[in-house]
């Protein structure tokens, strides 16, 4: 019976997907072509970066931009700092955000709406306006030129929206899940950890990607709070490439081709859970 349903379903969906697939192919091309352009331009020599008509494949193929980025500009240090700051901030956001998202999404608290509203207000406030006062705060704490100067504000400014994301996905999980935990005599934390969270992995993934990317690409705070190269992150490091009148496109593209690797790693780590998220529905049904 279920096999029949599955077959019919696939049939019904296939027509639907076919209508969509052409458009999707175009969209995929639209997303991939600029990436292709970034990648091949990072292998062009400086003079060929500005050649007209443009080279659709680099000739000669040069790795000078990569050498330049890592050896001359010390990109490795920036990369390390970005990884440290981003990973710690993302972990903090996920832990605090999951707890809060669970409370706000699934537990009967009074004043939830106000809390969510205040969180939204915090996430709408433009970064340019908070940098100067935050600088004063960091200076008084003696945190300038340190990892926590970035980890703490990144966590705080990304938490509000991460809570919104996590709450939204946690809301969608059937209520009986907690019952299962309660009947087994598990503590609330244990229920959250071993019963609710596995159901919410796709949401967790979304929040993780959101936070990771926001920290990974943040510029203004990173520039202002840390002026020692030992604590500077990738976006700041790249802003030091070249000179006021020279934009070394090739080197910048080489650095950013390397800089997107971690997001690939992140997706790889979460791949199983996100893919299995689909099948978990079938299991519970």
């Amino acid at each position: 019976m279920s096999a029949v349903i599955a077959a019919r379903r696939r049939h019904g969906w296939r027509r639907y997907v076919n209508g969509l697939s052409l458009a999707t192919l175009l969209t995929a091309l639209f997303i991939l072509l600029p990436l292709y352009w970034l990648l091949i331009s990072s292998f062009k020599t400086p003079v060929n970066v500005g050649s007209s008509p443009p080279q659709y494949f680099p000739n000669p193929l040069s790795t000078a931009n990569y050498t330049q980025a890592f050896v001359h500009y010390g990109f490795g240090t920036y990369f390390r700092n970005s990884v440290i700051v981003t990973v710690v901030a993302t972990a903090l956001v996920l832990v605090l955000g999951t707890l809060a998202g669970y409370g706000l999404g699934r537990l009967p608290m009074r004043g939830k709406s106000s809390v969510l509203l205040v969180l939204l207000m915090i996430s709408v406030f433009p970064e340019i306006a908070v940098v100067s006062p935050l600088y004063l705060l960091m200076r008084d704490l003696g945190w300038l030129d340190s990892y926590q100067a970035l980890i703490v504000p990144y966590t705080a400014f990304n938490l509000p929206f991460a809570i919104w994301i996590l709450r939204n996905y946690l809301l969608g999980i059937p209520k009986e899940m907690e019952e299962t935990g309660r009947l087994d005599g598990a503590s609330p934390l244990r229920t959250l950890w071993s019963i609710i969270l596995p159901q919410a992995l796709p949401g967790l993934f979304t929040a993780a990607v959101f936070t990771f990317t926001a920290c990974w690409t943040e510029f203004l705070m990173a520039l202002t709070f840390n002026s020692s190269n030992n604590y500077r992150t990738i976006p700041v490091g790249i802003a030091l490439f070249g000179s006021p009148n020279v934009v070394p496109y090739g080197t910048i593209f080489a650095a950013s081709a390397v800089a997107v690797i971690p997001i690939g790693v992140l997706v790889f780590i979460f791949r199983k859970s996100v893919v299995s998220g689909l099948t978990s529905g079938a299991v519970k049904g």
Partner: protein, 318 residues
């Protein structure tokens, strides 16, 4: 006002535990606060001071000197100046228009991509990794990349357009060209993340509703409109909310691609705020730009949620 913040609840989650003893309920509520407070305290400690500081600054005569900001008394002058400044009014209109258009396009494209990704059984991880590359790219760099693509003498897009007989337009050279070019770059970068938000929502939908639809013999489109779409509403709302927040903060693209030009055609509120604060060193008016922007976005988000909720209600009734 706060009522509209609550997104409607998907059918999977009952509103509250009905008919339980009060003590248990209170216990759960206490637990809820216990779970929520660590995050709130963390956020509060770091964000409230700078935000309140800027709001206060926007309402003060701000003097800047080596010894920091001097707040010399209350004034509404900063806001008054904004309202009478043509640049601010233009930036506001531009930012709103830009937000509305890009958010709509990204939502439609992102949902389409998510629906297809959901159907992918093999290679979904790879596809998602690829999709997320634009999103994870440092914004200034993706702006540089598009600047390089759009460049008016050696840019690849111009070369392609010339080769297929469409002439050699200077994409960033006219107001409309620059605005559309910027939107394309924005859509390129952000649509994938909208797709991920929607995909996560899709993946978490209960399977059995589809099966019911299949038994009914519903077609793909009608399954989508009748079943998937309503269930997906909270997630779509989240995606839109997120995009409104981001699009309203539009900064890197105009900052790198056009410097806000041609003329002032692509000067967004964030670019204006940055110029007023960090170039003109007018921190009072700059804080007013920032605060009024935040206020407008907030109003925009709430209006959206309210309309969205009202519409959901009327559909359910019908």
């Amino acid at each position: 006002m706060s009522a509209s913040v609550t997104l409607e609840r998907p059918p999977g989650a009952p509103a509250a535990i009905v008919g339980r003893p009060d003590a248990h309920r209170r216990g759960l509520a206490r637990l809820g606060w216990g779970f929520t407070l660590p995050a709130l305290i963390f956020v509060g400690l770091v964000t409230i001071f700078p935000i309140v500081f800027s709001i206060v600054m926007s309402l003060s005569n701000v003097g800047l000197s080596a010894s920091g900001f001097a707040l010399n008394g209350f004034t509404l002058h900063n806001y008054d100046e904004l309202i009478h400044a043509g640049v601010w009014r233009y930036a506001l209109g531009f930012t709103v228009g830009y937000t509305v258009i890009t958010v709509m396009v990204e939502l439609i494209l992102g949902t389409a991509i998510a629906l297809v990704l959901q159907r992918l059984t093999r290679g979904r991880g790879l596809m998602m990794a690829l999709l997320l590359l634009p999103w994870s790219m440092i914004t200034v760099i993706s702006a540089e990349l598009w600047g390089y693509i759009y460049e008016g003498t050696y840019g690849v897009l111009q070369a392609i357009s010339g080769a297929i007989g469409l002439g050699r337009p200077v994409f960033l050279g006219t107001a409309n060209g620059a605005i559309v070019s910027m939107m394309v770059a924005d859509i390129w970068k952000t649509t994938p993340f909208v797709a991920i938000i929607v995909l996560a929502g899709l993946v978490m939908l209960p399977e059995d509703v589809y099966e019911a639809a299949e038994v009914d013999g519903a077609s793909g489109w009608s399954t989508f409109w009748r079943i998937t779409f309503p269930l997906l509403r909270p997630t779509l709302a989240l995606a839109v909310l997120f995009r409104i927040l981001q699009a309203f903060g539009l900064f890197d693209l105009p900052f790198v691609l056009t410097g806000g030009g041609p003329g002032t055609a692509t000067t967004s509120l964030a670019v204006l705020g940055y110029k007023v604060m960090f170039e003109d060193l007018e921190f009072g008016p700059g804080a007013a730009v920032a605060t009024s922007t935040a206020l407008l976005v907030l109003i925009g988000c709430m209006a959206f949620l309210r309309v969205f909720r009202a519409q959901a209600g009327s559909e359910e009734a019908a």
